[in-house]
Amino acid sequence: MALLQTQNLTAHYGDFQALFGVDIELGEAETVAIIGANGAGKTTLMRSIAGVLRNDAGAVSFDGVSIGALTADEIMAQGVAMVPEGRKLFPSLTVEENLLIGTYGRKTAGHWTLDTVYDLFPILAERRHNPGTALSGGQQQMVAIGRALMSNPRVLLCDEISLGLAPVVIKDIYKAIPQIKAAGASMIVVEQDIAQAMAVADRVYCMMEGRVTLSGTPDSLSRDDIHNAYFGASH
Amino acid sequence: MAYKVTTQTPASRIAAIVGAIAIVVLIALPFFAGRGTIQDMFFILTMLVLAQFWNLLAGYGGLVSIGQQAFVGMGAYALFGAVILWGLDPVPSILLAGVAALIIAVPTAFFAFRLSGAYFAIGTWVIAEVVRLLVAQWKTLGGGTGTSLPRSATRDMWFVEMIEEALGVRSAAARDILAYWLALILAIATIGGIYWLLRTRRGLALAAVRDNTEAAKSVGVDAGRMKWIVFLTSAFGTGLAGGLIYMQKARISPDAAFSVTDWTAYVIFIVVIGGIGTIEGPIIGVLVFFALQSLLADFGSWYLMTLGVLAIVIMLVAPRGLWGLLSERTGLHLFPIRRRLTGGQLTTSEE
């Protein structure tokens, strides 16, 4: 049975429907990538799973229990942590305080502590007493990932972690993903950068206009399949 | 061309007819109603004026003021000053009351506009306190204990003798009737004036500023200027009402004329209960308020407690007030502001 599953998930912003019956699955210790163009509904999907957007009770289940109607903090306490799009560090908090806040709702013993996060991203140890927002974009992204890891989540949702970063910085951040996998977390990685996504994912979903248009393992999908699923067959 | 942009609705046309009849009845009221009714109606009309101006500020302008008592009190003291110090007749002095309120509104706005949101609210209150404390230092007008209008001034007031003769009433009753008619004129002018303002380009811009200052700026609405216009207009109107109220009372003290409960708390409750951001709301609100006061006034502080709790409940359950509930259910607009396209056929091709 899947660890995390959405069934016929829909979402609205006011009158605008952003998701139309999305079904995805994430297995234990699996890494799934969700790719798609701007406005495809990827971030909406992440926000729905994390509980920032309201769902039907039955639409999301985690470890066999339905979590669709829970609030964001309750879902986080279950063990689903999120790295939000745009990093969203707390400007009033230092780097270390930003990391520590990740343990607020869930104090679970596990691999990830301040020390292991600093091992993963050594630069953060040097900047630990700086305000989070004084860091470069890439370093801020590291803090956001570390902050989510601090709760030792069973599922890590990473929303657009390469957005707006230089290629060399993206490479640094993606180097951490195998270590996060090795420590036992299952992951959903939302990406516009198809190459990065394909390199780390066990399976890929492609979204367009609020629907899943294609799914499969990276090596089973041809470039043309992905191109059509990404932009629509008419292009 | 069969198209027409209009704000009229069938309900608003009926409302206009009913309103016209109501105005005629209200003008004729002193010919058949007793003095008590006239005094009650004076109270209702002046509170309605204060409520309409606070609603213009808060409901349309987004400027929540808790300092309206500054303008009521300033207007009232200006009227007393003009009568007592300069020997003017009280009736024309009402205009001076408005002007005096307008004059102190300028520095008030200058300070209060430096604060936003909730801090603006308390800022206006501080300034009202400052004005009250300063006026209490004005010894020739009685200092902290206040003073009365001289008997000679109230006896010889304009129109009073005319009313005495025409209606066959005593001087005191004639003064109440005069005050009532002036209040009626002020109320009609206030409602008419605000309705007109809201339907002009300026008024539409006002709604845009309230809904979203940034967006309004981007389409070229000068939000700062609109705030000034609204603030000064409502200070002027509130000052006129203050002058009129105290002309009728003929006795003044700083604590009464600058009372935050009488001139701001009641007014806020009227608008919130009736429906903020509509012209109909304060009208409904003042009637509900008067009914509550007649029923509960003997219970003193229980009455005010009820008003406070009622305002909380309305704000949480029906933030658009009683009129909002009614117009949501029925789609009724007696003072429609929205422009609608009527007549003609909506086709894509022109003949």
């Binding site: - | 300070f111 229980w302 407690m305 008003l307 933030p319």
Partner: protein
């Protein structure tokens, strides 16, 4: 010499105003909510202490320890079940709801305790004074000022040294992202208002010990508190203390010139600061 004395009395009076203001500052800093019933809650706290003193025969200083948990609970429930429902983009609901609360509370107190003024019982300690060179200082004003400093030190420790304080700051920055970290913003806000009412209770103790109080004096305390917060700069607690001191000194100096000018002088000082430094003396960078 008389001027130095006046100024020192003013500084000590500023401690009382800082106590009035700290709760307001805390709540505004965390949830951008201005509670117009703040002054009435202080007066209510004074009546609560008075009732405890009368019923249990406690000294006011001990009665505070009974009052504090009660007031914390009141603040928690008030925020959780009433004020949280008013938070949002629109500034009208919180203003009008707390204004309604202010009027309701004032009149409930009038109904319960009449308009007669009351005072908490004083003893030898509270009326004592100490000689500091040529100046005589009351023990009560000194205690008030020391309490204000302690409250501010305590709040700063809470904010910058504890997990709860981190959660306060994170929620203040971005409530949605905070909820992704397992924080329940609704509960954080409730806790903050609970703590604000703990400070209100301490302020109420000194209010009731130093002077007479009656149900109608709440709004004036709100105004002093508000002036102190604005002068200090929104969200800065030490700024709030300084703001309280400025109001206090202006009032005592004003009163020394002409007793009728006491309150007026405080307001004028506030307007002058607003004129020169519209964002207060220590404005927060990200507001």
């Amino acid at each position: 010499m008389i001027w130095i004395d006046t100024i020192i009395q003013g500084i000590l009076l500023g401690g009382l105003y800082a106590l009035f203001a700290s709760g307001l500052s805390l709540v505004f800093g965390i949830m951008r909510l201005v509670n117009l019933a703040h002054g009435d809650l202080i007066v209510m706290g004074a009546y609560l202490i008075l009732v405890l003193v009368t019923l249990l025969g406690l000294s006011p200083f001990l009665a505070v320890f009974v009052a504090v948990p009660l007031m914390f609970a009141l603040g928690w429930f008030l925020q959780k079940f009433l004020l949280n429902r008013t938070l949002g983009e629109d500034i009208l609901p919180p203003l009008l709801v707390t204004f309604g609360l202010s009027i309701a509370l004032q009149n409930a107190l009038l109904e319960g305790f009449s308009a007669d003024s009351q005072r908490l019982p004083t003893n030898a300690l509270t009326t004592a004074s100490v000689d500091a060179g040529p100046i005589t200082l009351g023990v009560m004003p000194l205690l008030t000022f020391a309490s204000a400093v302690l409250v501010i030190v305590g709040l700063n420790q809470l904010f910058y040294r504890t997990e709860l304080g981190r959660a306060f700051r994170a929620t203040s920055d971005d409530a949605t992202t905070a909820s992704l970290m397992g924080i329940k913003p609704a509960n954080i806000f409730a806790t903050a208002t609970g703590i604000a009412l703990v400070i209100v209770t301490i302020a109420a103790l000194y209010l009731g010990l130093r002077a007479n109080f009656d149900p109608n004096i709440g709004p004036a305390r709100l105004i002093y508190a508000f002036e102190a917060v604005i002068i200090g700069g929104l969200g800065s607690l030490w700024g709030t203390l300084l703001g309280g001191i400025i109001i206090g000194v202006a009032q005592t100096v004003g009163a020394a010139i002409n007793p009728e000018w006491q309150i007026l002088a405080g307001h004028i000082a506030f307007l002058v600061v607003l004129l020169v430094r519209p964002r207060g003396l220590f404005p927060r960078a990200n507001d």
